[in-house]
């Protein structure tokens, strides 16, 4: 009897420990826990994927009790529009709850956590959606800041809060970010294009220069630039379909946007000789090869490493 009882006891112990190990394994495999101390603040982040839904929670606790941030997010990573909608929706709620100063402080703390935690990870680990969730929190706070700032600017007619997931993230080339959170320094970008004739020489350089020249502001967002490029491309398209040749058409002297002001047979011969843009001295530095004129500008190209930090400020 004692022997049977002992065997049962051993079996129960084995079963219990197996179950505990399974649970631990489950947690280790699926959940990501990040705990970070910054100045007088404790930042905790936990994320796991269940049924293709990313569940996340972030807590930021100030030890002197000046603020407490606790926010849970449930996101379907396969639907980028839904990600933007959920983050925007939560940002609107947060903008009613926190002041601009608190949001600034929180986004600073999240950025410090991102820098400290993700810097030590491999590229594969950073690309894991659970870790990208940490960056989504940063976007959430940046969107909240945008919402608060836009409310200040136009107290009567509040503009709708729009967030566009960066194409770089969708193409798996960059971390999660909204186009609206990427600032472009216009004079620096124009200077960069002028100093690097090889940059985007195949596509878009002329369009980029023209579009950037239209902005009066020194600082714009990537989304502002994308909207303007789309508008310019549409205008160019409608112009090329009209009977009057454009400034970039064969036979028109020079290469500029808008209608052609002066055409000449010599310019037509020159343009035909410059279909491939070689030699460079003969075809002018702003020459765009004909075959690639129809291509659209890929945002991934803008986010290429070749572009200096002076242009894009995250």
């Amino acid at each position: 009897m004692k022997k049977t009882l002992f065997v049962y006891l051993i079996l129960v112990v084995i079963l219990l420990s197996c179950n505990k190990m399974r649970n631990e394994d489950h947690l280790n495999d699926e959940s990501i826990k990040i705990s970070h101390n910054e100045e007088n603040n404790q930042i905790s982040y936990i994320a796991n994927v269940e049924n293709n839904i990313l569940n996340m929670n972030m807590t930021i606790e100030n030890r002197s009790k000046s603020f407490f941030f606790n926010e849970s997010l449930k996101i379907d990573p396969s639907n980028e529009n839904l990600i933007a909608d959920i983050i925007t929706e939560n940002a609107i709620k947060l903008s009613e709850k926190y002041s601009l100063q608190t949001i600034d402080k929180l986004s600073y703390l999240v950025m410090r956590t991102i820098n400290s935690e993700l810097n030590s990870m491999s590229k594969v680990d950073i690309n894991k959606i659970e870790n990208q969730g940490l960056i989504m929190y940063y976007s959430l706070l940046k969107t909240t800041k945008r919402k608060i700032t836009s409310s200040f600017k136009s107290s009567k007619n509040t503009l709708p809060l729009i967030s566009t997931v960066s194409q770089g993230f969708l193409l798996n080339k960059t971390s999660f970010i909204f186009n609206e959170d990427i600032d472009i320094n216009v004079p620096n970008f124009i200077k960069f294009i002028n100093n690097n004739p090889n940059f985007s020489s195949e596509v878009g350089e002329r369009i980029l220069s023209d579009v950037l020249g239209c902005f009066d502001e020194e600082k714009i967002t990537l989304q502002d630039l994308m909207n303007k490029i789309e508008l310019t491309a549409m205008e160019e398209n409608s112009r090329t379909k009209s009977w009057w040749p454009s400034g970039s058409a064969h036979g028109c002297c020079g290469n500029y946007s808008g209608p052609c002001y002066y055409g000449h047979p010599i310019c037509y011969i020159h343009d035909v000789m410059c279909i491939t843009c070689t030699p460079r001295w003969f075809c002018f530095s702003g020459c765009v090869p004909d075959a690639q004129l129809q291509e659209t500008i890929e945002i991934s190209e803008l986010q290429d490493n070749k572009v200096s930090d002076a242009i894009f400020q995250f």
Partner: protein, 96 residues
């Protein structure tokens, strides 16, 4: 006297060609000015200047052939300048 004047004219025109193509090269590889007005004049003038260089080269070669080649002869200098210029500009069409 008239012949000497013609040689001087050819020499001056060959210098003008050198100046024009030097400015084109400098703009393409150093300054990179993309102003539309520069592009208009460039498109209009480059092909006439290319043809002009060839015509001047033929005239100066003929002059050198008639007078024999000496460094004292101004048409010899025109011929040297235009030959070097032609090699560079026409050669660049074949070297990518």
């Amino acid at each position: 006297m008239n012949k000497i004047n013609n040689d001087f004219i050819i020499f001056r025109l060959s210098i003008l060609c050198v100046v024009y193509f030097t400015l084109l090269f400098l703009n393409s590889y150093v300054f990179n000015y993309n102003a539309a007005i520069i592009g208009v004049f460039q498109e209009l003038l480059t092909i006439p200047f290319l043809l002009g260089t060839l015509i001047l080269l033929v005239i100066s070669a003929r002059s050198v052939y008639i007078k024999t080649f000496t460094f004292k002869n101004i048409s010899s200098w025109s011929f040297i300048i235009l030959t070097i210029l032609s090699i560079i500009i026409f050669g660049s069409f074949f070297i990518s």
